[in-house]
């Protein structure tokens, strides 16, 4: 390996040529983040400066008024705490449940694996609009409307999308590793815990990121299930800037920047695990 590394390094192009690779990467990043930069710059613009033809990217005068207005309009820290609570619990639920189910679907040879995979797939295919009210009535019957339970419990029971995703990652894990552990007499759970989970870490971190962002940005479920403004999450708070006929653009964009920053920060943090990935895994 060390020798191969040396050979590879010698064959690599000189530094200035490799430097060029950053250009397409930057191009990609610019295209995707452009609307966000529009949002960011609008948050610092004065009202009269927001729209112009042709449009301008940077504020002519920088102002923090929009952020002041945003903090004035919504109880930001309370909503942030509520949102972190819901998102955090949901992520925990996802990490606990989804890999378990995915393992049953990918690596345990039992007659239920195929049919259950089909069921997981099928549950994604029915448009959610027609199941929304029956699901609401179940929670209502359980007396849980007005609590956070309907927002966090489903994650502990596994999300079909994420189960299917992790399952597809596990499929490409060589079966010999798991067989070897089984032959050594390890229990199924031990095999799962000590062999499969470490290998699946990139997939599980990805699932956690997805669940986090879903919970973070979810608007309709918190609105339907929470009964008290004290419980509200940030995504509902953003509606404080939509009037019946008009939109408070500057404060909305400022609030939106405040809304995305914590999630962005956590995502950057999460990448440390992400990058850890396979090197700590047990593939070799």
């Amino acid at each position: 390996m060390a020798l191969a590394d040396q050979i590879v390094r010698r064959r690599r192009a000189p530094r200035w040529v490799r430097g060029w690779r950053i250009i397409p990467v930057i191009g990609l990043v610019l295209v995707f983040s452009f609307p966000f930069f529009v949002m960011l710059s609008t948050a610092f613009k004065e009202t009269g400066d927001i729209f112009s033809a042709p449009p301008t990217l940077l504020p002519t005068t920088w102002t923090l008024d929009n952020f002041v207005a945003a903090f004035d309009q919504i109880p930001f820290w309370r909503y942030l705490a509520n949102t972190l609570f819901v998102s955090g619990l949901s992520v925990l639920g996802t990490i606990l449940s989804c890999p378990l189910v995915a393992y049953a679907l990918a690596k345990i040879r039992w007659p239920g694996a195929r049919p259950l995979l089909m069921i997981v797939l099928l549950t994604m295919m029915l448009p959610p609009q027609v199941t929304m009210i029956p699901i609401f009535l179940i929670w209502n019957g359980l007396g849980a409307v007005g609590t956070y339970l309907p927002l966090v419990v489903p994650a502990f029971l596994g999300t079909p999308f994420l189960i299917f995703m992790i399952r597809q990652f596990l499929v490409s894990v060589p079966g010999e590793l798991i067989e070897a552990a089984r032959i050594d007499g390890a229990s199924e759970f031990r095999t799962y815990w000590s062999i499969v989970l470490p290998i699946a870490r990139p997939a599980i971190v990805t699932a956690a990121v997805f669940q986090f962002v879903w919970s973070w940005t979810d608007f309709l479920n918190p609105l339907i299930y929470l009964g008290n403004p004290e419980q509200y999450t940030l995504s509902i708070g953003l509606y404080a800037f939509f009037g019946e006929n008009d939109v408070a653009w500057g404060p909305l964009m400022a609030a939106c920047v405040l809304f995305t920053l914590p999630a962005l920060f956590l995502f950057l943090l999460g990448q440390r695990f992400f990058i850890g990935g396979i090197s700590t895994g047990a593939l070799k």
Binding site: F85, N140, G146, T147, G243
Partner: protein, 427 residues
């Protein structure tokens, strides 16, 4: 592979914390035996409007000690529907729009108010008749108007003066004004439109009334009423045909957001628009330099003078509320002269009460009276609220879109709506 005992403990702690928090989440709804009856007011408003509502709620709570209202902003009507579908709802009073009353009343999900109003001394005769008509179903009142809206002709004084156009008072004068105020470049590109349409549906249904039409004759959809067809044809001939539907669409794709500083009426791209009273509050804030006026929609004949359309924001009490009497007390406060004035001033809407027409409370809002006085007009109409209203207004909107884009004639498009109406929900 390497599960440390520390890792295991962390997991255990996390699961324990979860179980504990789940317990906390469920176990906190102890009822107080005495004290004021607590009710929840869920409203669709957000932003500055929600702040105004909260101020009014606080005033009500301070004014008496029998009922305590908690306000909650729920800016999506799916929340209302889910709550209404359950045996016990999450709110005791809420707001919606007049055209849904028939549909909701027919399904029994909103409570009839007649007895509750009588008990609280509220007289339906105090409200604009067209609004009460829309809010009644099968002889009973199911909602009260918290605010109403009428539509009038706004014009940009500077542009009219430049073009040497007088404020139009008849449909023919309006047609001439549109022609004089529409500016087109040599290649057909529009730079200024005589009459803009912030909401084509509202503009055209309102014009239908101004031409003497009726969209619901005898409690059923009547899209093909001759005056309706005439109004739509007039609109096409005077607004769309002279510039071409393609050029009109291209022009509209470059207009700014509604009621923002770049609203096309504020920037002079639209010389005139037919719109509601909320403009009177918005213009001084958003476009303080605009020199504007507003007048009644021009009439086809003197019998049809001051024709306009009325739309209604309503308050209702859901059938599944356990606190209907308390909710009715709050409702009575909201529609009292005091409550209605505070509410309409805060939102820049018209009060629904006839006693407030001419009230000095609105003197601070420029030209508000043009919209307010229309409430007393004999020619103010509201679309009916029936179980089919949502489908009907959707179909009308699609028909107008076809005509304005030049893919159908007024006659054919409205005929198609009439054909569809046989499929409409009946209850």
């Amino acid at each position: 592979m390497h599960l440390t005992s520390a890792g295991r403990r962390r997991l255990g702690v996390a699961v324990g914390a979860l179980a504990a928090s789940a317990l906390v989440l469920t176990g906190c709804s102890a009822a107080e035996p005495d004290g004021p009856e607590k009710i929840t007011f869920s409203y669709l408003w957000g932003g500055a409007e929600a702040d105004a509502i909260e101020a009014i709620i606080a005033d009500f709570n301070a004014s008496q000690d029998e009922v305590e209202v908690t306000g909650i902003s729920s800016p999506d009507f799916q929340k209302q529907l889910t709550s209404l579908s359950a045996s016990q709802g999450s709110f005791d009073i809420s707001d919606h729009f007049g055209n849904a009353v028939g549909s909701w009343a027919s399904k029994g999900i909103i409570a009839p108010l007649d007895d509750l109003l009588a008990a609280n001394g509220v007289d339906p005769a105090d409200f604009a008749p067209a609004s009460i008509e829309q809010l009644s179903y099968d002889g009973k009142i199911y909602s009260l108007p918290i605010a109403v809206h009428t539509f009038q002709l706004l014009y940009n004084k500077t542009l009219l003066a430049e073009a040497g156009v007088e404020v139009p008072t008849t449909m023919d004068e309006l047609a001439d004004a549109i022609a004089a105020l529409t500016k087109v470049e040599a290649d057909g590109t529009i730079t200024q439109l005589g009459l803009g349409d912030p909401s084509p549906s509202t503009t055209i249904t309102t014009l239908g009334y101004a031409f003497g039409g009726d969209w619901d004759a005898d409690g059923a959809p009547s899209p093909t009423n001759a005056a309706n067809v005439e109004a739509l044809q007039w609109y096409y001939d005077n607004v769309v045909a002279p510039v071409g539907s393609g050029k009109l669409a291209a022009f509209k794709s470059g207009v700014g957001e509604y009621m923002s500083p770049e609203d096309p009426f504020y920037t002079g791209k639209y010389a005139m628009v037919i719109d509601g009273e909320w403009r009177a509050v918005n213009i001084p804030n958003t476009a303080p330099d605009l020199d504007w006026g507003v007048t009644a929609i021009p009439a086809v004949s003197s019998a049809l003078a001051d024709s306009t359309q009325l739309t209604v924001s309503t308050l209702f009490i859901p059938s599944n509320s356990k606190h209907k009497e308390a909710a009715a007390k709050f409702l009575a406060y909201l529609v009292s002269d005091e409550g209605a004035t505070a509410f309409s001033l805060a939102l820049g809407n018209l009060p629904a009460k006839l006693s407030l027409v001419g009230s000095s409370a609105y003197d601070g809002i420029p030209q508000f009276s043009v919209w307010l006085d229309a409430l007393a007009s004999d020619n103010v109409h509201a679309l009916s609220s029936a179980p089919y209203s949502a489908e009907y207004s959707t179909d009308l909107g699609l028909a107008f879109d076809e005509v304005l884009s030049g893919t159908s004639t007024p006659e054919a498009a409205l005929q198609k709506v009439a054909g569809n109406s046989s499929n409409y929900a009946t209850e």
